[in-house]
Symmetry: C4
């Protein structure tokens, strides 16, 4: 199967996830700055964090599937598994916000992030068994960021047991780390073009 519909469906789900989170942001109970910051301030911050996360996954998904020509049934399900974890972001973000970053909601948010990271790892694995697998593996290389991220999520979960707000810190670090544009795939494709031309 070609990847056209898998990409279109994933784009649809990610576009909805990234947008409906704003529906959980209730308009402030009042008409002044205090109402905005008090009622919606934290909601806006957690919205930005989750928006960046979904943006990162969309970016990485976009890069990953540039390396893939054909997919099989296993990749379709691995992709749906990733979308499942991402679809929970509005739910866990909303709880994190409503509880004003209490212990258990912070842990659950971290578990959600960790689940998505593991699902992305499984998706990459499932692609290695397709005809384009070797090419994808070569382009992605050692995937250092992909290996550090789960460690930081687990650190965040453990720190949240001690002090929830501190537990958010490593999660913000992961987001910041991935915001730096990742040129692996672009460089690999450019090198491939050069090799073909040379």
């Amino acid at each position: 199967m070609s990847t056209g519909r898998l990409e279109a469906f994933s784009d649809g789900v990610l576009a909805i996830v990234i947008t409906v989170m704003v529906l959980e942001l209730k308009p402030p109970d009042g008409e002044d700055w205090h109402a905005l910051f008090h009622t919606s301030g934290l909601g806006l911050l957690t919205y930005i964090l989750s928006f960046v996360y979904v943006g990162i996954y969309w970016n990485n998904h976009h890069h990953l599937f540039q390396l893939v020509d054909h997919v099989d049934g296993a990749v379709l399900w691995a992709n749906l598994h990733l979308l499942f974890w991402l679809s929970l972001y509005p739910f866990t973000t909303s709880w994190l916000d409503e509880s004003r970053i209490a212990e258990v909601p912070t842990i659950v948010y971290g578990v959600n992030l960790l689940g998505a990271a593991i699902a992305y790892f499984i998706l990459q694995r499932s692609i290695r068994h397709t005809p384009s697998g070797d090419r994808a593996a070569a382009a992605l290389g050692s995937d250092l960021k992909g290996k550090i991220s789960p460690v930081l999520y687990i650190a965040g979960i453990l720190l949240a047991l001690w002090e929830p707000v501190v537990g958010i810190a490593p999660m913000v670090v992961v987001a910041a780390m991935w915001l730096v544009p990742d040129r692996r795939v672009e460089r690999f494709l450019a090198a491939e073009r050069d090799a073909q031309a040379g």
Copy 2:
């Protein structure tokens, strides 16, 4: 008519159905594990079940339309009929969850699943009258799973009359049965390629 927009529109509707169900999941009324499991635990389980169902329909729809080149007005409406039943999932799932799996909501959920299965059957039939109909019929074969599924839904509906939670069991079995990747279409397309090459 080519199938491009039919597939794009279906991807859009399915992406929304699979995602908005999470909007029905209210954040827990409290900040601890007990609140999560008590308020949202069952909601998460029914969400997973309906997510898997929509995922299965997307998968099957994706496979089916790889066999089809052109569609007519009848196929467009048969497809909209399928999307109608799938669009009710957030409603019936939400009632099932809020009633904590009471008798009538379980029956209604089963009728919703049955309606979607019948609509999918009608969609396959409507495709047989298009130019690609024979090819689709050959690839799909006897469609054993497609014939067992409605029987299991009806069994679930009848069992729900006796004990609702037991009625959910055959519905979970159908989902599990379809999770096993279905290689009919992939094999058919591979055999076709081999025959052309040979």
Copy 3:
């Protein structure tokens, strides 16, 4: 400009409109058949009516843009104007349902249908000024259904002044009339192919 993104964006908006109406359907207040029919029965009926309407517009839009190769800025805005009226369906459908088909909500629903019909007419007109305009005009012919529909909507609005439920009748007739597959475009494209081949 090619029509690709106009079609994709319209598919997105229509997919969302057709799906979010189900979010307005609140789960029944109770666990039995009476609760389902009393709380949600009318909501399901109005949902079906609006679902069919959006389905008809998607179908017609799909047929129309098969005749069009290039669009200009005026067509983009005429299309957005149509999407605006269709985007109001969840709002007017929801009021119609909550008021249990009272007079003013029925009139407003009729005005919404009428607004979409006029916007569709303007969209067809705006296409006549594009390079594919003559071809589209030839394929659409006298557009009898398109001319009867607004008359029936106005009849429905006037009847609603006397008895709201009776006012719904002509609106249902319009929906039924368009459900009959419209083969104008398919026949035109087939004749065009024959002429080129002959």
Copy 4:
């Protein structure tokens, strides 16, 4: 990277933003014209304003990416940054409406419009560093409207400090200004075709 998925994802997000705003429109509390105008009248007006804004951004985005063949990671993030500001429209529009155009919500709405305008400016800048950059720069020319808009938003924000409803006026002017179809890109592409043909 080609622009296909960037355009598809943006179409998805914009389609959702433009549609979900209608979900914030609560059905009127009552069944008569007074209820409609009193409860929902202002909501409909602010909905129309924000609908037009999202429509303008979709139109401009559509024109802009006709000039671009390849994008890099920086453009992906600049585009996500624009989508972030646009995704806040349902939130700020809803607050503007619920406060019945109070001072702070009007300022926040203006800041949201200004943020989107700045993000669009950054997106255009980021495109100049891609291989199609010179072509895009030539087609967009001096971008007078793009430079006047932020000035008018700031005027609106300042006027809102004095009288909120007056502050809305310059924002409506910007929307009206952009509604006039912008033929720069169409003319540029036509001239380019003529040059190639000549």
